[in-house]
Amino acid sequence: MNKSVELPDIADELVSLAQGNEQVEVCLSRSRSTTVKAYSGEVESVRSGMSEAIGIRVIIDGQQGFATAGSLDHQVLSQVIEEARENLRFAESDPHQALAEPDGVESPDLDLVDSAVLKVTDDQKSAIAIDLEQRCLSADARVSSVRSAAWSDGWGEFALASTNGISIYTEGGSCSIGVQPLAVEGNETQIGYAGDAARRPDLLDVDRVVTEAVEGATGMLGATKPVSERLTVVFEPAVTSAFLGTIAGALTGDRVVKGRSPFAERLGEQVGASMLTLFDDPTNTDSLGADNHDGEGLAARKNMIIENGVLSQFLHNSYTARRSGVSSTGSAVRGARSTPSVGLHALCLGPGRLDRQALFEEIGNGIFVRGVNGLHSGVNPVSGDFSVGAYGHKIRDGLLAEPFSEATIASTLQRMLLDVVLIGGDFEFLPNGSGMSSIAIDDIALSGM
């Protein structure tokens, strides 16, 4: 590795190696990261590292080859391009397979670079991690210990160049904190988690992280298995994000063109309740998912997905767009190690109303879901079957009541969209880049006793 060589220069040099009618696209990334964990009032571990990656796509007449490596060593770079060329020979030709072409859309030109994150010293990182742990311990007598209290930061740069004349470079950094307190009462232990992430250290909300993590653990003490019934559920914003992220995944071009989406034939139809609006907006710098470009170097842009319950469009990269006879929506996502797929940058839910308490009052009776698990095993985005483990609190007569756990909630993705009955006014941007609110969904099967 030679640190004095800039990524765009390497990318341009590799692109210039294109032969004959080859289309070549080079992606390069370099990143540094640090994680400091505290335990028992002391630093437990400090992990730091530097990573580099390259990914090269070569396409000739619709045949694509890809190769990648975790090093920018000169010898490795030439191997990668040769590997990509060799891989190409085994791929079958697909008339839609080609690199993205510049589409004239202007990049939003967002300023995402804030060097404050680079100025945090090792001692400050340690102090933040230790403080996070100590504050959880002193917040509530039932907090017995903290499994993990961590500070992380990262800084990365990314360059992409192609024979189609695309040449982009971005850099940026972020920092995050996360903590997992354990609350004990009698023979029972509950674990909580909360975290925050931001582009600048002073934007991290330590108070809120401590409060949420501790309440997450102590609030679940005494949780029991609920009785099975059909009821209304309220998802907190992070759970809404997991649910709508799954929905949006089924609305990407990849799934649609390959017949793996239950919504494939439903463009322009009412797929959700009329209050439901869903869009992807990487141009909003309030989101950590904000970006100037997509994974093929096209300008990032705001895309409506569901508007007042109507399915307005699918998200596309240049390949799925070509297959569908439309233009790319600038929704290619990738790291240098993989070929571009279609995905979300900053999924946002349209505005709602009512604060959380008013929302509970409007619902009257049901459950408030604070967390779900088994999303990767219990949700089938092809068939739409939805069944996940859930924990949280009962809502009784408009008030938050006793905690429950060891239960599942089930329906189908298709029905749940239509069964949305309320969207809360507690919109917030989450560490995963999505902007979400609490939502209430009717007629969900709760399975417990």
Binding site: S45, M50, E92, G378, A445
Partner: protein, 467 residues
């Protein structure tokens, strides 16, 4: 073929270790990894992409008391290693010292793969994909999409530490998976089948790819007629090899010493106690043949071994890595693993399974009046602090009056680890390992295996929608 030189030159390793402890570090480790992998995706009737990848780098760890410093680099030159060693050492802040480290062993390992996948032409690999695709599509006209994925990975590791350890391993894993989508009147359904072992290309001499593709297709087609799964608590019979993930999630994670030490396990302070039905013996075994989680050494250089965790229902031991075993003053158990050279190792499972009982599997089904028969479980997740777990049923049927009847749509099962262990009513005599898996913990994925004979749990909560 015997390798002639270690992944990293012995003198350079010694020098790096010396730099790592020069700051007052008590113990240091150099972990070097060279990973070459290749994959090919066959989708919509054609080869979509062939991808190859290469990763080479080192992770350097220094400990002082309970404090760990770690740094990784992809730069394996003397300068790159020295920088990483100094970064890892910076946590020590001690008095400078010069101490030579003597390494024992030769740092060499021989591949156990009979046929290294890298020696096989890409044409031959592509033919396999086509063969699986054709077999799946020919199985039933309702099959509308078939995705076949081939992947091979060779991972060579070298581990050295300041106690003189100098061990290596050369791991090759090969896998083929088939995912089918079937289209029916009620929408789409999916079926999946995977075959993968810690072997080379001989995988395809030992396994019938067409039969496997047909099973995947059959699963998707069967589910077209599936009815919603019930909601509530029912007895559950799990087919052999189809549900080892239950034990991986329900108790395996809770027996990892790092979680136990931090009070984040329901199994803390319970050694010697009856924690399961007396018929249950649970083992984690990194030496198990060519199973997916098998390794010669773990990622801290410790030999893999067979660890009995629960014997006849009694909790006998936890799983250990270097850090946790040293603190407890006991030997490590070969469970220190990491995703890559960029990660710190922690306690991880290898191949985790429940051993045979003595009942005929058909008697277990016949003895179940009303319940659910799970032929294949998907992934799962556990809260180790409470023991609550959840996992998906990817192929399941109703049991009515002792017979397997209607197929069920997908749903999650939920339960509590310690309760399920006690609620295992009967265990079959037909042990089998299941599909290869990737276990995720704190953001790191490692290959694991699991297995179990057919068995019945008295009650699990089924997360369906039917009343």
């Amino acid at each position: 073929m015997k390798p002639v030189s270690p992944l990293l030159d012995r003198e350079l390793v010694q020098e790096t270790l010396a730099t790592a402890i020069s700051n007052g570090g008590e113990w240091a480790e150099v972990f070097v990894e060279d990973r070459q992998s290749a994959s090919a995706d066959f989708d919509e009737g054609r080869v979509e992409a062939m991808v190859s990848s290469r990763d080479l780098g080192a992770g350097i760890r220094v400990t002082v008391g309970d404090l760990t410093g770690f740094a990784h680099t992809s730069d394996l030159t003397r300068r790159g290693l020295s920088e990483a060693a100094q970064a890892a050492a910076s946590v020590a802040r001690g008095v400078g010292r010069v101490e030579a480290v003597a390494l024992h062993g030769n740092g060499l390992a021989e591949s156990k793969a009979r046929i290294l996948p890298e020696t096989i032409s890409k044409t031959q690999k592509v033919e396999l994909l086509e063969q699986a695709n054709s077999a799946a599509r020919a199985e039933n006209a309702a099959i509308s999409q078939v995705n076949v994925r081939y992947s091979e990975g060779r991972r060579r590791v070298l581990v050295a530490n300041s106690e003189g350890l100098f061990n290596a391993d050369d791991q090759t894993r090969t896998l083929l998976s088939v995912n089918c989508v079937a289209t029916g009147d009620q929408g789409l359904q999916t079926g999946r089948e995977t075959v993968g072992y810690t072997v080379g290309f001989e995988l395809f001499e030992d396994h019938d790819i067409e039969a496997m593709a047909q099973r995947a297709a059959g699963r998707a087609v069967t589910k077209l007629a599936a009815r919603p799964a019930p909601s509530g608590q029912l007895p559950v019979v799990i087919e052999r090899g189809g549900g080892g993930v239950l034990f991986h999630e329900a108790c395996g994670h809770g027996l990892e010493a790092d979680l136990v030490n931090k009070g984040a396990s329901v199994f803390r302070d319970r050694l010697g106690e009856l924690v399961a039905a007396p018929s249950v013996t649970l083992v984690d075994d990194g030496t198990m043949g060519v199973e997916w989680g098998t390794v010669a050494i773990d990622d801290e250089g410790c030999r893999a071994q067979r660890n009995v965790l629960i014997e006849d229902g009694v909790l006998t031991d936890y799983m250990w890595d270097h850090l946790r075993s040293r603190a407890a003053g006991r030997p490590a158990s070969g469970n220190g693993r990491r995703q890559s050279y960029q990660h710190l190792p922690m306690v991880r499972m290898t191949n985790t399974f429940v051993t045979n009982g003595d009942t005929e599997p058909q008697d277990i089904i016949a003895g179940t009046k009303h319940g659910v028969y799970v032929a294949q479980l998907g992934g799962g997740q556990v809260n180790t602090a409470t023991g609550d777990f959840v996992f998906g049923m990817t192929e399941a049927y109703l049991i009515e009056n002792g017979e397997i009847t209607a197929p069920l749509r997908e749903g999650n099962l939920i339960g509590n680890g310690p309760e399920v262990l006690k609620n295992i009513e009967v265990i079959g005599n037909d042990f089998a390992m299941g599909s290869p898996g990737t276990c995720g913990k704190d953001g790191q994925g490692v290959p694991v295996g699991d297995g179990q004979p057919t068995l019945r749990v008295a009650a699990l909560t089924i997360g369906g929608t039917a009343s």
